[in-house]
Symmetry: C2
Subunit: 340 residues, 2 copies
DNA sequence: CTGTTAGCGCTTTCAA
DNA sequence: TTGAAAGCGCTAACAG
């Protein structure tokens, strides 16, 4: 059996209150000598206060939950690290929950909050299955929740971190056009994902701003996974062979898939076709070719989300919406051309 | 304030004992009619039992902690997913802790166990800083801990999952030799890592078994990170140009780095130089070239570790050592040659 | 400066 | 079939 506050009290012949005070660093109300005796007993026995018991009274667990689709996806891993770092700095611990996009797991975590196991939750990504009724309800009840890149129709959550998707992709289009490309294919995200819609908008807007006509055959919908980028590119290569000189993928994973397809077709990136991605995964700078990508610091994204949550948990009740701007990381998957 | 068991009891005009029984599915001792009334009240109020209070009595949290160096490393992410999946299946929740290899964070988690916030811990990787005194002590005290790929000198933990590093690399050497390679360079892991030593042993053993002499200049020590694979390869290319036709990297990340260096030198994998890795990361099958790699299923590795822990938590006290065998995933970073 | 007392929300004997 | 009461390990008034 683990040693408890009672054991220490008995050992030192003081009350548990005195021990409690010592543990909690309450110097006032404990004599120097007593205090040292208690401290020594704690050290000798290896006593650790039972934080479950403590939580029961304080209603604080110093624990938060992060809900993501899949930690194996480098984007979520990076985000999780940012969240984890911020939590650690703030003295919080982190629950990890992989949902694979299912809302069942999300509900699980929400229960966790109700069961007072966590002080707050960070939800990421759009759940495509339903209308987020649970989360909406939950936020209305003032539970500490922060949403990351999650857009709920007709509902503005008090704590939200988002990326400028539309603006980011638009800047990427501008960039490609500056580099001489005029025929730019686009591999989008899942039809139901809100941020995919925004990215697509950015693409259209970018073309329009440069007086280039939008062409449906040059747009394909992927699922943000590598394979779909590959497939889409195979499709472009088959049916649109000479109608594009560059591909923008709505995320880096699909851009990597696109590069694979191009390479498998015996062509070269960027010599034959340029490819640009979105998200700016650290991975994109590691592989060949290094993928030129638009994005925010994902680690920072996670960090900010966690900081927002911790602030809220420390009592700050203000609404906050952090809107992160994208920056270009120019690498070598895009080349300049003369005649698009 | 959240609704408690008391509220339900009051609402139904029964004792909290009756409510408790209903919550816990104890049918004996609760009348059909009473039971339904309670169930209805629970549903109406959205009551969730406070699991902190429950844990205090039962001494169970249904929570385990996973301690890894860095979730951003795809190896650990994959492992974490395996652990997470097994935990979810068993009704457990998962704490994630990134240590960056520092033992401070590890100690943190151990405290967590002492504070009865988690029921058990999975520790991964060798801590290179010290002698694992804390963990050893902890295991001796019979705390539920499972070690993954962690080798502690003169100490056999009761619950352990390891990879056949030596045998795996040896098989990889055999494979390359079968494919005609005789001059095989090797990029090892960190000098202090126990599994790096085993992998190096496998390399030497593989050469010896095939009557090939070990040559120190063809061996370089990396740190399991991509950059070190790159650097090592640059070194080989500079000073050992014609002395090798293939490179074995002690992990896939370094193999990817090696491919990058080769490509940057204007050479091609596998045409000019073959590269093989270890770990068999899913990532290795996604990039170009697809990296031929030896390894175990990382997801499975994590799953087994978690299952071992959950078994232990369910009362099984047997010692278990799972020794996972490696398998080759033949892809296209290695080519057969006639004259090594 | 120190201790007594009353819970936190729940489970678990033990009686009724 | 039910409930009263004790207590998990701790904090937090409130006394002394």
């Amino acid at each position: 059996m683990a040693v408890t506050i009672k054991d220490i009290a008995k050992k030192c012949k003081v009350s548990i209150t005195t021990v409690s005070r010592t543990i909690n660093g309450v110097t006032e109300g404990v004599g120097e000598e007593t205090r040292n005796r208690v401290l020594k007993a704690i050290k000798d026995t290896g006593y650790r206060p039972n934080s479950i018991a403590r939580s029961m009274i304080t209603k604080k667990t110093y624990t938060v939950a992060l809900v993501i689709p899949d930690i194996c996806n480098p984007f979520w891993a990076e985000l999780a690290r940012g969240v984890g770092d911020a939590c650690a700095s703030g003295g919080y611990h982190l629950f990890l929950c992989n949902t694979d996009g299912s809302s069942k797991e999300e509900r699980e975590q929400v229960q966790f909050l109700r069961e007072s196991r966590v002080d707050g939750i960070i939800f990421t990504t759009q759940n495509e299955e339903e209308d987020n009724a649970d989360i909406k309800q939950f936020i209305r009840e003032k539970y500490p929740v922060v949403l990351v890149e999650r857009y709920i129709k007709d509902f503005k959550p008090p704590l939200l971190v988002t990326i400028n998707n539309r603006g980011g992709i638009k800047k990427l289009v501008d960039y490609l056009i500056c580099r001489g490309h005029k025929k730019i294919a686009y591999i989008g995200g899942p039809k139901l994902a809100a941020n995919a819609a925004m990215r697509l908008e950015g693409y259209r807007e970018g073309l329009a701003a440069n007086g280039i006509q939008y062409k449906a055959p040059l747009v394909s919908a992927g699922d943000y996974k590598l394979g779909s980028g590959y497939e889409a590119t195979v499709g472009f290569l088959r049916s649109q062979k000479d109608n594009f000189t560059a591909i923008i993928a709505a995320n880096d994973l699909m851009a990597i898939g696109a590069c694979g397809a191009i390479s498998d077709a015996g062509l070269s990136v960027p010599r034959d076709i340029s490819v640009a991605g979105f998200d700016n995964l650290p991975l994109s700078a590691m592989i060949r070719p290094h993928i030129t990508s638009m994005g925010v610091s994902i680690h920072q994204l996670g960090k900010m989300a966690a900081e927002l949550l911790l602030e809220r948990l420390s009592g700050v009740m203000e609404e906050r919406h952090i809107f992160m701007e994208c920056a270009l990381s120019e690498r070598n998957s895009v080349r300049g051309i003369k005649n698009g």
